[in-house]
Each structure stands twice: as structure tokens, then as C-alpha cells.
């Protein structure tokens, strides 16, 4: 295994870690506020679908005129010469929007109506799994897929400044050129989101209150701050980040939506969150580890160790195996936010 191969695997790991990272940070906001969310998976799926669908639909109007009609009035205007904004912009907004709608649903069920957070999460996962296929078939008749996304309907790879020029510098050159450069915008936003999450949680008033509401909501309530508003905010941030995760999956990593394409990433992100002990920095590490395992599984489909052929299924199952190991508690004690999963009821 030469240096370039290692770099390529790491490069792939970073790409594969990004959807996990967004979802993991999404879960972090929600759980730090005391709302367990196993509906990450569903939100990823729905946002992947909406991002890909809306991008695909808007693709038609890049050059062609687009009619815009005001509902119920019949009045229409036409945007001549096509829509001047790239389809992917609409895709991202649709992806985030769809995910936030589901997040709001989870919020209403678990905050306002004090329902069971696990059941609400499961319901959201089922809902997402069904609705994406039904609507997808209705819109595109491609068996639940969306059309292949091309050009400005996808996220483009960004070449970092000087990447070509420093490519030949030993060691640093290839790392910069191969590993760090050449990703889509969302990968860099993901890395930035880690820092941003840490900063919000530990440096701002909002973060202090958010962490407090997940540990002891009574302390927040008696201090005269609304528990409900804080928790809704957290849940919506969770929806937004999940939206980015799904959007990246369908328009960055892949070029379109495929049925069940989230493939358990929402659950892997939850495992990573536990592994990371609900801390942003560790979350990055955990997601990179999962990404690395997936990259290795993809790269070495058939390897032999000591003359024994390792089946490809085993290699591809690596991230899921690690998930089980983590959830079974083999990685030391992780203490979740104390008020997690409990609806807040004012005490007499």
C-alpha cells in the first residue's frame, strides 16, 4: 500500500464522514437539549429526496423560461431566459426545509404533547421511508429514484487555491492536493460546523442554556427561561443539520436519490454521538473513524489475510459492526445528558 493509496482512502473517508458528521452534530444539538432523536435517519432520507427532487425539477428551467403562477388567482408571470439561480440552491433549501418540517413534527410530539421520544422517532423513520418512495414514483416514475443530477444541479468540487501549484511539493503537496482539496462545499461547511457547534455550546449564552435544559430543565425554568422555546430551537437546529446531511448524500456524494439511500447513517451517527460523549470535537473523530471504515470496506472488496479470503460483505459491514460494539457499551461509560428523553412537566 503506497502513500497515494493511503491518501485516496483518507480522501474517501472524509467524503463518507461528512453526512455522518452533519447528522451527528444534529443529534448533538437535540440530545444536549434533552430530546432524544432516533429519527435522524428519516430526516436524512427525506432531505436527500427533497434536495435531489427539487434540483432535478429545477434543472429543466436553467435555460428554459419558467412560469410562476400565483395560486388561486390564475395570474402568471414568466421568467424569461431561465432561472438565474443554480438548481442546487433550491435543492439545498428544499432538503433543509423538509428535514425541519419533520423535526418540528418530532418537537410537537415530544415537547408540546410530551409523547414518547423514541416512538415519535420511529414513526418519523417509517414515514420518511414510505413517503419518499411514493412521492418519488409519482413525480418521476423511476421506481422511487430521481433523475440523474448533472452540472449545476449538484454540488461542484472545489479546488482549493494553489492546489495545482503545490501538488509537487513532497509530502505536504499531495496531502493538500489529494486529501484537502477537491471536495464539495458541504464538506468544508461540515468541518466548520464542528467548530461552530463547539463555539455555540460553550461560548454563548444560548449554549449554556441549551446544555442546562438537557441536564436539568427545572434549573432553566426556575431561572425564568422558557424550556419549551429552548427545546424547539434545538430541535429545529437538528432538523437543519440533518437536512444538510441528506442534501450532501444525494447531491454531493451521489448524483441523485435512490430508495433507502441513507442506509442506516442516522443510526451510525447516533452511535458516533455516544462514542463522542456528546462533544463536538470527539464527534468529528468518531465520524471520521466510521467514514474510514466505510472507505476501507469500499476500497478493499477482496482482501486476503493470512491466506483467508475475507468476504466483501464483511468489509462492507465494518461500520455497522463498530456501531453494535459501541452501542453495546464496549468503549467505556458514556453519560448522556441527564434529562434526556424525559418530557418536561412542571412540578407542583
Amino acid at each position: 500500500m503506497d502513500f497515494m493509496t493511503v491518501l485516496q482512502i483518507l480522501d474517501s473517508a472524509l467524503r463518507l464522514a461528512t453526512p455522518l458528521l452533519f447528522a451527528c452534530l444534529a443529534g448533538l444539538f437535540s440530545e444536549r437539549a434533552g430530546i432524544f432523536d432516533i429519527g435522524l435517519e428519516g430526516k436524512i432520507l427525506v432531505s436527500a429526496f427533497m434536495a435531489a427532487s427539487v434540483s432535478a425539477l429545477m434543472m429543466a428551467y436553467v435555460d428554459a423560461p419558467m412560469p410562476l403562477c400565483v395560486p388561486f388567482t390564475g395570474a402568471c408571470v414568466e421568467i424569461a431566459g431561465g432561472v438565474p439561480i443554480a438548481p442546487i440552491v433550491f435543492g439545498v433549501l428544499a432538503g433543509m426545509g423538509a428535514s425541519m418540517v419533520l423535526a418540528l413534527l418530532h418537537g410537537v410530539a415530544s415537547i408540546t404533547f410530551r409523547g414518547n421520544q423514541l416512538i415519535s422517532g420511529v414513526a418519523i423513520n417509517f414515514l420518511a421511508s414510505g413517503i419518499t418512495v411514493i412521492i418519488g414514483e409519482n413525480w418521476f416514475s423511476l421506481g422511487g429514484r430521481t433523475p440523474q443530477l448533472e452540472g449545476s444541479a449538484r454540488f461542484q468540487e472545489i479546488t482549493l487555491p494553489f492546489a495545482e501549484r503545490v501538488g509537487n511539493v513532497p509530502l505536504f503537496g499531495p496531502i493538500y492536493h489529494e486529501l484537502l482539496s477537491g471536495h464539495t462545499l458541504l464538506v468544508y461547511i461540515g468541518l466548520l460546523a464542528v467548530f461552530l457547534t463547539w463555539w455555540v455550546l460553550f461560548r454563548t449564552r444560548f449554549g449554556l442554556r441549551l446544555r442546562a435544559v438537557g441536564e436539568n430543565p427545572e434549573s432553566v425554568d426556575t431561572a425564568g427561561v422558557s424550556v419549551i422555546r429552548l427545546r424547539y430551537t434545538a430541535v429545529l437546529i437538528c432538523g437543519l443539520l440533518c437536512g444538510l446531511s441528506g442534501t450532501y448524500l444525494a447531491t454531493g456524494l451521489a448524483a441523485g436519490f435512490v430508495k433507502e439511500m441513507s442506509a442506516g447513517r442516522g443510526f451510525i451517527a447516533l452511535a458516533a454521538l455516544i462514542f463522542a460523549k456528546w462533544r463536538p470535537g470527539y464527534a468529528l473523530m468518531a465520524c471520521l473513524l466510521f467514514g474510514l471504515l466505510e472507505a476501507i470496506g469500499n476500497r478493499f472488496q477482496n482482501i486476503e489475510i493470512f491466506g483467508i479470503q475475507i468476504p466483501v460483505q464483511f468489509m462492507q459491514a465494518l461500520p455497522y459492526i463498530l456501531t453494535v460494539v459501541i452501542l453495546a457499551g464496549f468503549v467505556g461509560k458514556a453519560i448522556p445528558p441527564r434529562a434526556g428523553g424525559e418530557p418536561y412537566v412542571k412540578e407542583r
Binding site: F202, R203, T204, R205, F206, G207, L208, R209, R211, A212, E215, N216, E218, S219, V220, D221, T222, A223, G224, V225, R338, K346, R348
Partner: protein, 510 residues
């Protein structure tokens, strides 16, 4: 004449059919410590929750410093200068003291300047009121006494002029309680108004200027403390004459029933909870174990009750019992004549969702009187038995078909006592028999414990209430840090000496 700091007029509040507060009138004068006393369920906490904006009164008016004030949320109360120290602290365990204090009262969107300001303000408050707390300590690392100071600081940081304290001494050692009272006196000197909610008559007499008594949701009386007596207050609280002293003959101890030798327990985290504990209890005798909660008393009860494994020797009537392994369980203990009234009745003593009669049979399922054939239980017999025992122990209401959770704390305790005390045990283990129990029921429970002693049982009483230990015990052992600090006779000691022993200081040995 100055306006009262707080004036409540005609406050009423109902929860469904329950009238928690009925037409309450009270005036609290500024710069005084005003006690509010009453039994559990008398409506003290509801009234204070209304004052702090947790609930809204159905009718009535709140005036703060003579100005009629609308308090719909805690924020409004804080804005009106009212601070509250709850019985169960509202602190975030893994936050620092500083973070807890600024929570909800930050100066801006960024934490750093808020923390810097708070640090300065804390230093000033510490100097002014004898309230020294390390601002960077984590809450989970500091003791309850210190945590309470943090709660007081929280209120003062929000510029509270009126401070409400709900049962503040329940979790404190006598020394810590004294410290708290010194702080409260300091606050009074600075012109703050303090409302002290308690059920301890001694505290009312010791520190308050005026006292209001609540009973059954109504304000029964407001009196100057100097013009009243504990007996009078107790009578007002309960609505009838109450014996504050227990009617108890001299003990006539027989042979040793329980002998404990070098008992040690190390918990799962490797912390030693009991080290080398030895003592004995004779029949017809009450041994009281005093100590601040968390010094090994709970573990002692659990070991003897067959819940926790231990090392050492324990003999019942001269024959050893297993301290670990298959025979170290509640079943085997009961077979040896040990009855156990656990400290935490809601977790270890009862299943709250189960009916009273189902709860009355726990641990005694194997009693042939309750069996029908080899497999079935004779529920009718259990119900009948439960009914009889509930009458005997004056459980109200005496309805075996009600779930345990629908009884009040005192009546739940009576259910457990009725189950454990009516089988003529050789040894009764009893932990915190009157925690959360009303004065009227306390009298009843104490009398039953003494009666059981007079019938020849050995009784091991664990309580954090020093008054209870002093009045019930024939001998007192004090525990500190998993060890027995010493034994005293109630007639030959006083609260000060016991308080020192509870803090790990043996004045006699020094």
C-alpha cells in the same frame, strides 16, 4: 408605617377537586424572618409556587412592597425581587458554580463577559454575607451545604430582596444548619426579607420573628414567635393536642439479638462504604444510628436486609447469617426473623402502581396462610389480612384496593410498617421512619416502634433526624464515613456532642 414586603390577600388555588389554598391572607414585614409552618399537604409549597409564578392563583392579589404585582412566570417574580431556594436544588450537576449562577441572568449573548462580571459580584457577596463558594468548582463535587449556598447566591445575584427558603435544613448537618442560620441572620441585618418554610418547630422558635401556621390549605394563624410555644404551634398545625415527647418506659434489654462484627462493604466503584463496623442490639432495645445521610447508614441497612453483599460476621440470636451469595437475600433474612422498613419506601418498600393489598404481601408470598394449593395465591385472604392491618395501623383511607401511589407519604409509610411490624419480628430494621410524614402520623409511628420494643423485639433505627434519634433510642451510635464514631446513651449526651461526632470529630477522644 412601612408597607409589607409581601402581602397576599384572598389567595385561593384549586387543583381539580382539591382546594390547595383557600382564601389565604398573610403579611410579611420587610427585614424580618417569617416562618411558615404546616404539615405536608397543608398548602405551603403551593402558596410559595404561586408567589414565585409557577402557578397562578384562581383568585386573590399579591402585593410586593405595597405595590400590587402580577406574577405569572418565575421571571416576573425575579423581576419583583423575589428569590427562591427550593428544597430540591435546581442546579445543573456538571456545571460550575459560576455557570449555575449566571444561568438565565447572563449579561449578553457571549459567556465570557458575563462570567467575568459574575466573578466580581460573587466576591462582593462573599464578603458581605459570609457566603464563600469556589466559583469554579463543579456542583457534583461540592457538598449539599455548599450547593445550598450556591442557590442563595443565585437569588442574591439576581438582586433578590425577598428570599424564600423551602425546607432548607432537611439535607444539612446540625453544623451546616447553624451556618445557614448565621447567613440568614446576616441577610436580615442587611435588610433582606426571608420567608422560611419548615416543619421543624425548633427552627421556627430559633430564628424567626413571626410565624404563620397553615392547615388543610388555610392560614390558621400568624403570631409573633416570641409570643408562642412549640406546643401551641404543633396544636395549631395538627388541629388537636400533640405529644411532642414520646411516652416511653425504661428499656428492659434481654439477650443480644443482632451481633455485627467488622462489617465492611466496598461498592462497585471501589469506594469503601462501610469499614469495620461492629455493634450489637439486644431484645427490648432500640439502637439509634445517627449520622448525616450518605455516611454508610444506608449500606448498613441494605446489608442487614439482604440487598447488598458484605464481608464480616453477623449473627442473629447467636447463629450467623450469609452476607454474600445465594442465601444473602431478603427472603432468607425474613426467614430468620428480620423485618425491614427501608429508607426509601417509594423504591424499596412499595411498588407505587400496585394496589395496597398487593404491596402488603411483598416478601411474605410464601406464607402458607396466603397460599391456595401449590401454585395459586389466596388473594381473598391477602385482601382480608391487608384490611385488618390497615385498620390497625390507621391507614387512611383503609381501602386495600387503592394503588400505593394514591396514599399520602405518611400513609404509605404506615403500609410498610404494617407489613413489617405485625409478624412479631425478632429484629426490626427501620430507616427514616418519619421522612416526609406529618406530625400527627409521626407520633403514631413512634408509638408503634416503642410498643414493638416493649414486646421484646430488637430495633435498629436509622434516621438523619437527630431529634428522632434522641427521643426514641435507648442507645445511640453515630456513623461517619462508613465507621461507627462512637456510642452514647441519650441521657448522657447532647446534640452538640452528637453533631461533632456526625462531622467525624470525637471531642471525648481528643
Amino acid at each position: 408605617m412601612t408597607a409589607p414586603a409581601i402581602e397576599l390577600t384572598g389567595i385561593s388555588k384549586a387543583f381539580g377537586p382539591v382546594q390547595a389554598n383557600r382564601n389565604i391572607h398573610i403579611k410579611v414585614m420587610p427585614g424580618t424572618i417569617h416562618g411558615i409552618i404546616g404539615e405536608n399537604g397543608a398548602g405551603k409549597s403551593t402558596l410559595m409556587s404561586i408567589l414565585y409564578g409557577f402557578y397562578q392563583a384562581d383568585s386573590g392579589n399579591i402585593s410586593v412592597n405595597g405595590v400590587s404585582t402580577d406574577i405569572r412566570e418565575p421571571q416576573h417574580a425575579i423581576g419583583a425581587g423575589i428569590g427562591m431556594v427550593f428544597q430540591h436544588f435546581k442546579l445543573v450537576q456538571n456545571f460550575t458554580v459560576l455557570e449555575n449562577i449566571i444561568l438565565g441572568a447572563e449579561d449578553g449573548a457571549m459567556l465570557r463577559p458575563s462570567k467575568a462580571n459574575a466573578r466580581k459580584e460573587l466576591r462582593r457577596l462573599a464578603d458581605e454575607y459570609e457566603l464563600n463558594v469556589d466559583p469554579d468548582a463543579l456542583i457534583e463535587d461540592i457538598g449539599v451545604g455548599t450547593q445550598q449556598r450556591v442557590e442563595i447566591l443565585k437569588a442574591l445575584y439576581r438582586q433578590a430582596d425577598i428570599l424564600i427558603l423551602d425546607e432548607p435544613t432537611g439535607v444539612l448537618t446540625p453544623a451546616e444548619a447553624d451556618h445557614l442560620f448565621r447567613i440568614l441572620e446576616g441577610l436580615r441585618r442587611q435588610g433582606k426579607t426571608i420567608i422560611l418554610i419548615t416543619h421543624k418547630l425548633r427552627e421556627i422558635m430559633e430564628i424567626t420573628d413571626a410565624v404563620s401556621v397553615m392547615r388543610g390549605g388555610e392560614m390558621v394563624a400568624t403570631l409573633p414567635t416570641a409570643g408562642t410555644s412549640p406546643e401551641r404551634l404543633a396544636e395549631l398545625m395538627v388541629g388537636r393536642k400533640v405529644l411532642l415527647r414520646i411516652d416511653k418506659k425504661q428499656a428492659e434489654p434481654g439477650d443480644a439479638v443482632l451481633e455485627v462484627e467488622s462489617l465492611s462493604v466496598t461498592d462497585a466503584d471501589g469506594v469503601r462504604r462501610l469499614s469495620d463496623v461492629s455493634f450489637s442490639v439486644r431484645s427490648g432495645e432500640i439502637l439509634g444510628i445517627a449520622g448525616v445521610a450518605g455516611n454508610g447508614q444506608s449500606e448498613l441497612l441494605q446489608v442487614l436486609g439482604g440487598i447488598t453483599a458484605a464481608t464480616g460476621n453477623v449473627r442473629i440470636n447467636g447463629i450467623g447469617i450469609s452476607l454474600s451469595g445465594r442465601r444473602a437475600d431478603g427472603q432468607s433474612r425474613r426467614a430468620r426473623g428480620i423485618a425491614h422498613v427501608p429508607e426509601d419506601r417509594q423504591h424499596l418498600g412499595l411498588i407505587m402502581d400496585f394496589l395496597a393489598w398487593e404491596n402488603m404481601v411483598f416478601g411474605y408470598h410464601h406464607d402458607p396462610a396466603y397460599r391456595r394449593g401449590r401454585l395459586l395465591m389466596d388473594n381473598a385472604a391477602i385482601r382480608r389480612d391487608a384490611q385488618t392491618k390497615m385498620r390497625e395501623f390507621d391507614v387512611r383511607p383503609p381501602i386495600p384496593g387503592l394503588p400505593a401511589k394514591s396514599f399520602s407519604g405518611g400513609n404509605q409509610q404506615k403500609l410498610v410498617l404494617a407489613r413489617e411490624m405485625t409478624r412479631g419480628p425478632d429484629l426490626l430494621l427501620v430507616g427514616q421512619p418519619t421522612r416526609g410524614v406529618d406530625i400527627g402520623a409521626i407520633e403514631f409511628i413512634h408509638q408503634h416502634i416503642v410498643d414493638l420494643r416493649d414486646d421484646g423485639a430488637a430495633i435498629l433505627l436509622v434516621s438523619v433526624e437527630l431529634d428522632e434519634i434522641m427521643s426514641l433510642s435507648d442507645r445511640i451510635a453515630v456513623m461517619f464515613d462508613g465507621r461507627v464514631m462512637g456510642e452514647r446513651l441519650p441521657g448522657e449526651t447532647h446534640e452538640r456532642e452528637l453533631g461533632l461526632l456526625m462531622a467525624g470529630i470525637d471531642a471525648g477522644a481528643a
